[in-house]
């Protein structure tokens, strides 16, 4: 029987010097599931996410992505990363390339697609995120929301199996958050496996299959949004929710 868990994290530990960022975290994400990770700042959310595609090396524990153990030193991490899209808080667009160039470069160099095919894919993705007219604009000429949409198109161009979002709206002005969340909602509807670190509770309610509350590096509670918003079990979760919800 084929295992339907595309991400399996078991007993993950990661510390930076004295600071324990992730402590004994275990988490499974099913194919097509939208997993929403939230919690107070410095709680280890980003670190957990960054361990999934190997941007951080865990101290111990295993992470298995689609059957491949990414903590194994002998695997080619580049091949695994090509299957995992990542969207960053500060966009991290390549400033020396146009929007189109940002989306085509990895297709050409990693996927080895010919230039015209890569550009076709890029243009169709730019239409999907609603900004085909900005194909030849450089990142400096784009607003924050536009930058983040290009960043999503850049990740999607690799046809990833999983998309990771690291606080994708935290650096945006209020009026630009919706345009980014709309793209994410559509992605969720299309059945993309998503792991989202965010504070956007509205998005969680609308799209998440499961919510994971992380505090001081530990997974405190996991539940569906309905359960978690109506009757959170842990005191720490109750306290956090009462502080952020009006």
């Amino acid at each position: 029987m084929k295992n339907d868990d595309i991400i399996i994290i078991e007993h993950l530990y990661k510390s930076f010097g004295e600071v324990e960022a992730v402590v004994d975290a275990s988490l499974r994400v099913k194919r097509g599931e939208v997993c929403f990770i939230f919690g107070p700042s410095g709680g280890g959310k980003s670190t957990l996410l960054r361990c999934i595609n190997g941007l951080e090396k865990p101290d111990s524990g295993t992470i298995i992505i689609d059957g491949v153990d990414v903590t194994d030193k002998n695997i080619n991490i580049d091949e695994v990363r090509a299957e995992i899209g990542m969207v960053f808080q500060l966009f991290n667009l390549f400033p020396h390339l146009t929007a189109l160039g940002n989306i085509t470069i990895a297709q050409e160099k990693v996927r080895k697609r010919p230039k015209d095919e890569a550009e076709r894919v890029a243009m169709s993705l730019l239409e999907r995120v609603g900004m085909p007219e900005k194909a030849n604009a450089y990142p400096i000429q784009l607003s924050g929301g536009q930058k983040q949409r290009v960043a999503m198109a850049r990740a999607l161009a690799m046809n990833p199996k999983i998309m990771l979002f690291d606080e994708p709206t935290s650096a945006l002005d209020a009026e630009m958050i919706k345009e980014v969340l709309d793209v994410m909602l559509n992605l969720a509807k299309e059945g993309m496996t998503m792991v989202v670190v965010s504070h956007e509770m509205g998005f969680a309610k609308a799209a998440a299959d499961r919510m994971v509350f992380l505090d001081a590096g530990r997974i405190i509670e996991q539940a569906t949004p309905e359960e978690l918003f109506k009757n959170p079990k842990e005191d720490r979760t109750k306290l956090f929710l009462s502080q952020i919800l009006y």
Binding site: F88, F94, P95, R154
Partner: protein
């Protein structure tokens, strides 16, 4: 309209004329004046004309040596600069060793060391290699190569070649530090974004980091080229017939100390000042693009 009226009104004299005079680049005018003076002599005075004719070959060699050495130094700088930011322990330590050694030795000493220690050593190693090859090879296309290696003499290696190697070795370390600073000026997120798309470390360097670093690196590289052109005068101690050495020769040939060194200095200044204009131009273009 309000704007027009403002233009019509005579401007009040707020800045005193003394302050305006202070802003004139007097130093540039002075250089220009001296340049015109020496140029005047070069066109009218027979002694100056004779010196110039004798020295012009040196200018050519100075430019040639600087260009080749700097090209090699750039290659070395790129390789070693990448080593200075590498996580590979061996690569990093070898690169750091090279940079620190060069930084601690005067260029003049390094040039002499290359000419009289490194070159003989290399030649004797090549001799042994050639002899060993001759003993083991009965026939074949490599015999010719082995034969020339075995019979290579130290004198066969021209002083110009030794000087170029020494200059390139010294400046390779400086350029490595420029490259390192350039790479470190690019924020970490760029590397992370590139790697998260599945690029290898070297693909990320090649397509994402270095194209951005080149903008910050170009002005210091230009300045280093000027510095190298000046330091190329040091190879006159190896009797390479570049500008400074020809200056010495011209002085002993004609006993015209004053005219000879005026001309030599003038020629160096023309080279360096025109290069620094180019560097300033590049700097300004980079600033506009940002």
């Amino acid at each position: 309209m309000a704007i027009e009226r403002e233009i019509e009104r005579p401007r009040p004299r707020l800045i005193p004329w003394t302050a305006k005079l202070a802003e004139v680049p007097w130093w540039a005018l002075f250089i220009l004046l001296m340049g015109v003076l020496i140029a005047y002599f070069l066109f009218t005075d027979a002694i100056y004309q004779d010196a110039l004719q004798f020295l012009i070959a040196g200018v050519r060699l100075t430019i040639l040596v600087s260009l080749i050495s700097f090209g090699l130094a750039l290659v070395a700088g790129l390789i070693v600069g990448l080593g200075r930011v590498s996580k590979n322990v061996v690569y990093f330590n070898l690169s750091s060793l090279y940079v620190e050694v060069v930084r601690g030795v005067p260029i003049l000493v390094m040039l002499i060391y290359f000419a009289w220690v490194v070159t003989p050593l290399t030649v004797s190693i090549l001799n042994r290699l050639g002899t060993a090859m001759l003993q083991n090879l009965a026939s074949g296309s490599l015999v010719g190569l082995a034969d020339s290696l075995a019979n290579l003499h130290i004198q066969d290696v021209e002083m110009t070649v030794r000087a170029i190697a020494g200059l390139a070795f010294c400046y390779g370390a400086f350029e490595a530090e420029v490259v390192r600073a350039g790479i470190e000026s690019i924020e970490r997120g760029q590397m992370e974004a590139a790697r998260s798309l599945g690029m290898s470390y070297f693909q990320a360097m090649r397509y994402i980091i270095l194209p951005q670093a080149i903008r910050t690196v170009l002005p210091p590289l230009g300045n280093d080229f000027i510095a190298m052109l000046k330091d190329s005068s040091l190879i006159s101690v190896l009797a390479v017939r570049e500008l400074t050495h020809l200056g010495k020769l011209n002085r002993s040939r004609t006993f015209r100390t004053f005219e000879t060194w005026n001309t030599v200095t003038f020629l160096y200044l023309i080279l360096t000042l025109s290069l620094s204009v180019v560097v300033k131009f590049i700097e300004r273009r980079m600033a506009f693009e940002e």
